[in-house]
């Protein structure tokens, strides 16, 4: 039933994934074969069936609204690829402007 081909470039764009050219073609073929397989779900009658999002029982989770210690800043920043003076995570430029291209 999946007569339309998957636009792998568009899906990769949504997923923020760079795909080298050779990989894109192979992945497209594999995805199309998997989608043909999962299309078998279309034969199941799901009229009036509620969706299940998770297998957990629903119950309220309460806790005291009390302040507690968090991990120290230097511990959390130890994994950052780049920092500003060990105080902040250095990120690539977000807004266009001076120094951007």
């Amino acid at each position: 039933m999946a007569e339309d081909r998957i636009d792998i470039g568009y899906v990769a764009q949504l997923a923020r994934l760079e795909l080298p050219a050779g990989q894109a073609e192979r992945l497209q073929g594999e995805l199309e074969s998997i989608v043909r397989y999962i299309d078998e779900l279309k034969e199941v009658d799901v009229t009036g069936v509620e969706p299940t999002a998770h297998a957990a029982r629903l119950f309220n989770v309460w806790r005291e609204d009390a302040a507690a210690e968090s991990l120290p800043r230097e511990t959390m920043l130890a994994n950052a690829p780049a920092t500003v003076d060990g105080e902040l995570i250095r990120v690539p430029q977000v807004l266009p402007g001076e120094g951007s291209n």
């Binding site: 994934l17 998997i34 509620e50 299940t52 297998a55 989770v61």
Partner: protein, 484 residues
Amino acid sequence: MEKMLCSRTLSELAAGLKSREFSSVEIVRSALDAVGSRDTEVKAFLGVSPEHALREAEAADARRAKGEALSAWDGIPIGIKDNIAVKGERLSCASKLLEPVVSPYDATAVVNLRRRGFIPFGRLNMDEFAMGSSCENSAFQKTANPHDTTRVPGGSSGGSAAAVAAGLVPAALGSDTGGSIRQPAAFCGVVGVKPTYGRVSRYGLVAFASSLDQIGPLANTVEDAAALLAATAGADKMDCTCLPDACDDYLRAALDGAAAPDLKGVRVGLPEEYFASGCSPDVRKVLDGAINKIEALGATPVKVTLPHTKYAVAVYYIVATAEASANLARFDGIRYGDRKDGADLIDGYFKSRGAGFGSEVKRRILLGTYVLSSGYYDAYYLRAQKVRTLIRQDFTEAFKSCDVMLAPVTPTVAFHFGEKSDPLQMYLSDIYTIALNLSGCCGMSLPAGTGEGNMPVGVQLMAPELGEARLFRTAAALETALGK
């Protein structure tokens, strides 16, 4: 030759520690020796921190000398799958993208282990981000099956299963999203338990598919698996899906089952869809042997049906990949992990993720993104969630006429490296384990014999939500009858 300390069961080690036959330092040294020798062939461990482990072993020995042991197991090392956070150790999920990351905290399961004196030992190999059934998707190394090194150990907790089977550690933690504990346990001939969804906290387990993921034990015996589950399970304020219910006495249940192997009055359901076809004759033969044993123990086999079984793989690969595409969106190389610079911010995401993720992870992120994308959401994701409801109802119905279910774990014994190169064929090999995760119920794989090539074959036992005690009692009785 005397068994190396690290190859012994938890109960043997607890007894030896108590009688001062050996120390925790000696156990940890033997595990380190095994990693330096036997594991050069098996390659179950991605890394170990000898100084950390020895320091903790010395502390455990000091506590015991003062009569202050934290539990009977104080000082016993437990291998940890590399997607479970251990403070101060790397946490790579066998992915290049997370290769540089060192965990700043302990997962709750690890906190609970430490509270009893267990020592987290080493990082065990896995399929990248727990996506795979053979460990071949690890970015770093291929783990071999200790029973035949030309075969895979299974996955994704292949390192955990291989490490226990090879006797490198007495037991290990793994995680099971669609069979990732039970399948490698079956392939390697060890006991592996997938607890009820929410029984063990997921805090500190790197998320793959949050509605399915569950941490569980891999061990040499049912008793050991019960002890390890008891040491990790329980309510946790850091995971709001973790169940508040008190835990049954799993160890007691296993000891009772082994001491008095009597299953009179126990109704053992045999789901007909799991026996219909697809199971190879050698696996089927072991299964039939286990059914005979269970009957000899007094249990009553009953036919049950799980009519939506044939849709489980399709539902799983929609639900799990959709959740994975959302969960793995956080890996952008900005706050942690291996950052690749791009022309701008967005381009950096593309490059970091493109270089950091392996092909199976990319495939699943793309599939998950596709089934969630505009125009396909209703047809795939929403429909899969509805069929998931039907699969859950199948289990509820089946458990009305039986106490536990018995089924195969895998269609065949462990396959050879490279044998399943088509991703869909690999997915279909998960047919007997996937539905249980969708249902939320608990289950385990128990070694029950050998098949083709003298490779281990497991049988799967399944029980309703929070039916772990029943599972351990039944499994321990069967294990005793099979002669462990």
